[in-house]
Symmetry: C2
Subunit: 253 residues, 2 copies
């Protein structure tokens, strides 16, 4: 059942000192944003917070209340700096327990790899009442608690968790997009863009300038949940650019 | 004058639908985080918000109050979706004016490029009372208002604005780091990491696992403002790994 009128929103909390120090380039924002778009869910806000109980809990409680879904990435490994499960459990006011199915997955995995130590067992801990998110790619499950989806920091592992969630979250109409590129300074056609956007209900135009090979250009990304509006808006913009003697490139440059 | 005991903090707001849609991979978080680290300032939190007046204003007012510095990226171009200056002016309660020096820079730049149109003049708008951040690389200035530093969305332009700011912000001791890599599952040495961290005051150890060529390994990033503590901790960790028969790699793998 899809409610076409309602917009479904999600927030994402990226947890980790390694992102805030600049050591690691985040890949999960773009990965999760793209995946959510396909599910018909808009990523409305992202926060990057440190490996800090209070910082995580504050972000969790603010964002889970005002979005349909909340995703987190990072901090669910076996070491002392992996505090995401504890912080989320504290935020929602439940104890942390060892999930029997997660324990069984770990026992199986470590059977031939030195056995299930206390440190490894940390990875089976979940907020009480949570379910696991099956990961058929790497085996490492994610955790679902209410509207909170707890994912790994390593992007390839998160990809497997998203795969396990695909098609299970209720969303609205996917936000469609099309791109028109042009070798034009965006400042030359700022008014045209604003007029064109106003002329098509529910359509948004984003303008993304670039400088390549000594030339100025821009890609205009048109977004709507309505394919017909999207196509009509893209055609109108392309015609207007052509009328100015500026060749439009369907799909962008 | 550097106060060595005090920790200086910054927050960053990344403004733009293109990041939240997954279309554009953000590069500014890592760039600004790294630059801040060199200035002796910790990036404490990041928010990614949509091109939306209220969302920007809420983030600005929350984060500027609880950090020494607030940076923003994105939304300062000439088109209708560039609303950062308006949103920040509204958040701090001042009108938007055209900055005379910014106008002069634009007039000079567009003298041979079709002249300064209304759309282009938008890029000279600042919150009243703001100063410009000189950009000797691309010419496009950033904007400084109180403790708010307003930067471009295009990472190469932001790089020039950061260059203009280098050495002008008061900070504390830079956070130093060193990395020890090892072909070991982090779950095998979780307790060792926690013990080692506890043994060295003011030192933090982050554990970053990876999977390469079918093998499991991890990099352990040790951070401190004190070089001697850092070196002693790295040596202790390396010795302990070697004693387990696991070769440590200085600098990481």
């Amino acid at each position: 059942m899809t409610d076409t009128a309602r917009i479904w929103t999600a927030a994402l909390i990226v947890i980790g000192d390694e992102i805030l120090s600049g050591r690691t380039q985040d890949k999960n924002i773009a990965q999760i944003a793209t995946w959510l778009g396909v599910q018909g869910i808009r990523l409305r806000e992202v926060r990057v917070v440190a490996d800090d109980m209070d910082a995580i809990a504050e972000a969790v409680n603010t964002l889970r209340a005002r979005n349909d879904y909340l995703f987190t990435t990072g901090g669910i490994g076996p070491t002392h700096d992996d505090i995401t499960v504890d912080a989320i459990a504290a935020a929602v006011g439940v104890p942390v327990i060892v999930h029997p199915q997660a324990r069984a997955i770990l026992e199986r995995y470590y059977e031939t790899r030195g056995g299930l130590t206390d440190a490894r067992l940390r990875m089976a801990r979940v907020p009480e009442g949570a379910d696991l998110i099956v990961n058929r790619m790497s085996g490492a499950p994610g955790i679902k608690f209410g509207n909170i989806y707890i994912m790994a920091g390593v992007p390839s592992i998160t990809a497997g968790m998203l795969d396990g969630l695909t098609g299970t979250l209720e969303g609205g109409l996917p936000l469609l997009s099309t791109t028109v590129g042009c070798w034009v300074a965006e400042s030359e056609i700022a008014e045209l863009l604003a007029q064109t956007e106003r002329a098509y209900d529910g359509v948004q135009i984003g303008s993304y300038p670039f400088f390549r090979e000594g030339r100025t250009g821009a890609n205009f990304v048109i977004r709507s949940t309505d394919q017909a509006q999207l196509d009509a808006c893209a055609a109108a913009l392309s015609d207007a650019l052509a009328a100015m003697g500026r060749e439009p490139f369907a799909g962008g440059i």
